[in-house]
Symmetry: D2
Subunit: 389 residues, 4 copies
């Protein structure tokens, strides 16, 4: 007896054809999610049609390795193909706007990695394109994958249910240390032209998005500070200038009156990929660390004082967001599955004809905050007012 | 440009054909590993040919979902097929011996889930069959997947390098709580006929295997105790007797003189899937907990007292076992990838014509200890001597 | 305005006169408690009359340093004095019985350090003397000071209130590493004649007492194993034999049907003074570690699964046992205050004319278990039945 | 044989006479330290002469309880006494300046609780008085007691030895939750007139002092933000205005180029007394939390990547600052002993005729930063330059 195709995803003529652009870190992570989503979740059928990259040999190898039927080097040709329904953009940020807008105009659903773009102008153009496309039933989403960490999805549920009462403040930090060694070489991530910004756009953006995700609403004020500790690094032909920040410090006023502090660093020696979140309300509080992403610490301040404390909830129960699809309780999942959940939610929204979340407008909100941080930093950390949404 | 097949694994005529038997928890976990190993590791090409199960409808669905080309209900027919090179046995323990021996005799490489068998006699027959098969170039492995947790592979390296000095004692526990509620229903796992034993074979076996894995060598003496806290549970037609242990307590004498204590329970309320290991030597010590499997705590007792302490090593660096294949530092992997690593090692050994490890003989060593625990428990915990290997 | 004497303790003619025997580790710790109890708790007034030790110069220095009015070298003379009401025995175990029995017969209230004695016969004689003294209004207590850790007192409350439901099993360990180095010199603690036993009496006794304290009731069965890893150590005149255990492994059957495992070691490299307790019931569970003695982890299994986890309760609230006397919430106390609490409870009982707890009979219960462990260890770990209380 | 007086401290005619002013929280904590310092450390002899407070009955009771020979209500009379050598000021901040300056002028050594004063002007006057007194051999110290946490003293040693290399940034937070409940009543701590500021002066000051303590040097730039979440609280006669901050967010530029972020809150639900410090250098890093004050996490980035991680050092070894005086390794000390260490260091400096540290000038440095935070907060968080020292 021959099995129907995997999750009805591979050979079905009605399957959605997917093209991914970029085969490096994010391309590998997204590919993994496309390859596995249907093995765990009930999602519309897809086919991994084509992986796009600039280096023909490398992209061909990557395509074979990551489960794509074909490789290609010209993204414009690919988004013009009739058999492509979805374009997944995993390129560096400076390419986002051009590809995303073209793909949306070509009627393709678009998933784009965060941050939305390297500049506010690009981000605004992308959001406008997404709004226009939505009118034609074409969907788009920005890949703030940490919204799909089960523990953070649970955190959002608890806050939305009022379990924290009025949230007063948030303390967030995204700490890495891969630039701690001053002899680490120059990369495209350290040049403003290609990366837009440093720790700010790359990792603080995740923390800022979490503030918006967890609390909803919008940010009204921003104070920021950016600093580059190592201003020159070894390049291919001698020292090159680092033109982005190594670290960022931000305070945000939320529309609700809550205040959030956000710190981001690529120089936090010993911290590898630690997005720490602390949320304090008048009825409860939450703690989270991405390095132990299967755990959420929850304090219910309505319990008797005698037994009150932060509970380490291992977020691996069938009752927890996304976890029913995986393994029995206590069997932890990995970082990569935040993308599997992202693809699951993206496909589900497409299947239902609803708008996926977070939208390009959500990405734009983050982008405006990032721009305000840069503006504030240039103005001696002075508070910047943000226009209403 | 059409990409070569994924990891050269799917269509290649020289690819190894794989059949998996069993589509429940372990079948799902193994399928995931077969589907993904070639996307991360350089391994001999395979094809996921056929998934075997008793219920035709369910196995067909599972095959489609988990990436198998076909489904089948008769394992005998499948192991007779010429296009099947590898048989992966994910059934309950009472079926292991018959299938594994038949598959080995049919010239198939065999991977079997732990514990090796439900009885010592079966385990001995399997080990004999594996030894005989090896002569013919047919390989076999038992799936103690926790040997492939990167943190535990690192632990083994450190011990082997002498970083702990002389290991004096090990304290191990495997704690779960899924039977904590006395109203939880009867399952095949709670009957001696189908499961062999309870917490002993299911989870204490993992802890015991770790003692052998980490310390090498063999066990010479065993004292054990088994207990069933809830002796009757709701069955389909009223209460049914639980005929296996809910919890086990064991001390082992290792050939080196080290002593290990092992505790296992399915009643440890609040512990979900916690395999805790503590290893104490005269030069260092190690701590591990499976619920945080990306971490290893290492204490180097040769450091100055002033700065000595257990270091929480986040085992996600390229320098760590298996981790070079995954994501940048700090991006944690999940429980399931212990199987991806297992398949990687199994395939690599087959490709190299070397014997995979752990072997059926390793499985038999664990089985002999499990049998001695039962014997000791029946004899008021009295120490049982084990024959030399 | 002249202040009344400290806590009415120092000059009052009605104050209870205290003599302490022993000025080493335990003498220092007890002295601290005698000196400070009245500054935090409302207790009957005491005077620190005399500190007794064998070395005249050293005891005189210690007396001055630790707040005692006098020093003395002959304990017999001291217990004969009319101005002494309380005798606090901080000597090595082999001296306990003689002093305690003499003091009780002299009509002095007696506090004795644990374990009660080095042999079961001595312990039985002491318990008989205490029972006889009680008839005459003379009180006695054994110093299992960890019963006065606020977190453990809270643990007992929670268990007594049924918050754990039926306790099924306990996992306990007392781990130290001060003998990890094989070159550590010989001491009186390593000779059977002076110390009675090694890790067993010194530290496993604490863990065993906690089982009795937390669960109440008695122990009916014991299996034990003792081991000496380093059998000879440098003495003053060359190598000397170590005649006590370095480590102990025990399982206990409690009268309630619960099973406890206890492990103790002075070779657990990296563990400094770690008494770990885990208590698992069908409605909840508790975790504790003496190295973080201000914390108790409590899991309430009646909470919804979604938010269930071990809560880290910082046991520093006014609502917590003993803590109202100390500092505001979050300001932790130290190990030494377990003795301050012990003295507080001892004095309060004397003041009220009630029997302090734990009694010499409680100490005897532990002693019987220790003896059974030794008996079982000698009998290849075979289960030993304990007579009813 | 009669013992010499305790630590030669109580009756010796050459003993230093101590007066403490204030018998509430800080008075109790300081008294405990005065009472016990000589039992653990070799320090110049002292006598606890007199405790001063406004309420005659209460101060008399407190004096008796806390070990003071006398009680008094008029601090001016007390500092005029010839038998008083040391004045310890434990009053609210608004009284510090007047008492400290008068005591210094009267030739008494002065210890004053932090923060130095409620206003910068007062702080400057106090520092000037201290400088003048120093010329006459009269010593003064400000009680930033957390400089005497052994783990933080160890942290300073490690930084000073270069074990962290160049420190790049510090992340600090002092979090409490005692004002989390909006119904908590008004106190003197919530009014600007009596308290000076709220979380800023009370707790952020500790974190800021730690930056100066750990890194040495001075701060050159400050950006700050203050916020009051609950602006009115129940007073004795109806609602009263809260005129101080509930929370503060600060970034500091250190003279070395390092940047520190400091967050303080009395609304961090579930955090009881958590001063968290993170220090990141290019060769190592440190983590600390006051709720587990016996621990320091140290990461040595010069170790091989494979075994690198934060080591949990239990700072209870004889090799650790202050700890040789206490108990064997692993026996933790409490929060209160930070004061015992403070008194020890103060007395030792007096005995040696050296200047105790931290000085009033150190207190003034903190005060200038606090004032700059308030100035920056009023100026929309704009960076404020600090004049050189």
């Amino acid at each position: 007896m021959r099995a129907p195709a995997q999750g009805s995803t591979r050979q079905s003529s009605s399957a959605l054809g997917v093209a991914a652009i970029g085969y490096a870190f994010m391309g590998k992570a997204h590919s993994n999610a496309w390859r596995n989503a249907a093995s765990f979740f009930d999602v519309p059928a897809i086919e991994q049609k084509v992986l796009v990259g600039r280096d023909a040999r490398q992209v061909t190898e990557a395509a074979a390795k990551y489960g794509w039927a074909e490789a290609a080097t010209d993204w414009r040709e690919v988004i013009a193909r009739d058999d492509i329904d979805i374009v997944d953009i995993c390129t560096p940020g400076w390419m986002h706007a051009e590809i995303a807008i073209a793909a949306l105009e070509a009627g393709k659903h678009v998933l784009v990695e965060k941050p939305l773009a390297n500049t506010l102008a690009e981000a605004e153009a992308m959001a406008a394109a997404a709004r226009a496309a939505r009118e034609r039933g074409v969907h788009s989403m920005i890949g703030f994958n940490y919204r799909r960490v089960p523990a953070l999805a649970l955190a959002k549920e608890l806050i939305a249910e009022g379990r924290l009462g009025t949230v007063r403040h948030v303390r967030a930090a995204y700490q890495q240390d891969w630039l701690s060694d001053a002899r680490s070489p120059m990369t495209w991530r350290l040049t403003k032209d290609t990366a837009g910004s440093g720790a700010l756009g790359d990792i603080a953006s995740h923390a800022i998005d979490q503030v918006l995700f967890l609390l909803g609403g919008s940010v009204t004020e921003v104070s920021g500070r950016l600093h580059t500790f190592v201003t020159s690094r070894p390049g291919t032909n001698g020292p090159e200038d680092v033109t982005v920040d190594d670290a960022a410090w931000v305070t945000l006023t939320h529309g609700s009156g809550a205040i959030a502090s956000v710190e981001a660093s690529r120089m936090a020696t010993g911290q590898k990929n630690s997005l720490k979140l602390e949320v304090y309300g008048d009825k409860g509080a939450l703690l989270f660390d991405l390095e132990e992403l299967n755990e959420l610490a929850f304090l219910d301040a309505t319990l008797p004082v005698r037994e009150r404390g932060f509970s380490r909830v291992l977020v691996t129960e069938p009752e927890h967001p996304y976890m029913n699809a995986w393994w029995p309780q206590g069997h932890i999942i990995g970082w990569e599955h935040t993308f599997t959940h992202e693809i699951r939610d993206f496909l589900t929204a497409i299947g239902n004809g609803t708008e996926p979340s977070p939208s390009f407008d959500d990405g734009l909100s983050v982008q405006r905050i990032l721009a305000a941080v840069e503006e504030s930093s240039a103005a001696k950390s002075s508070l910047i007012q943000l226009a209403g949404p």
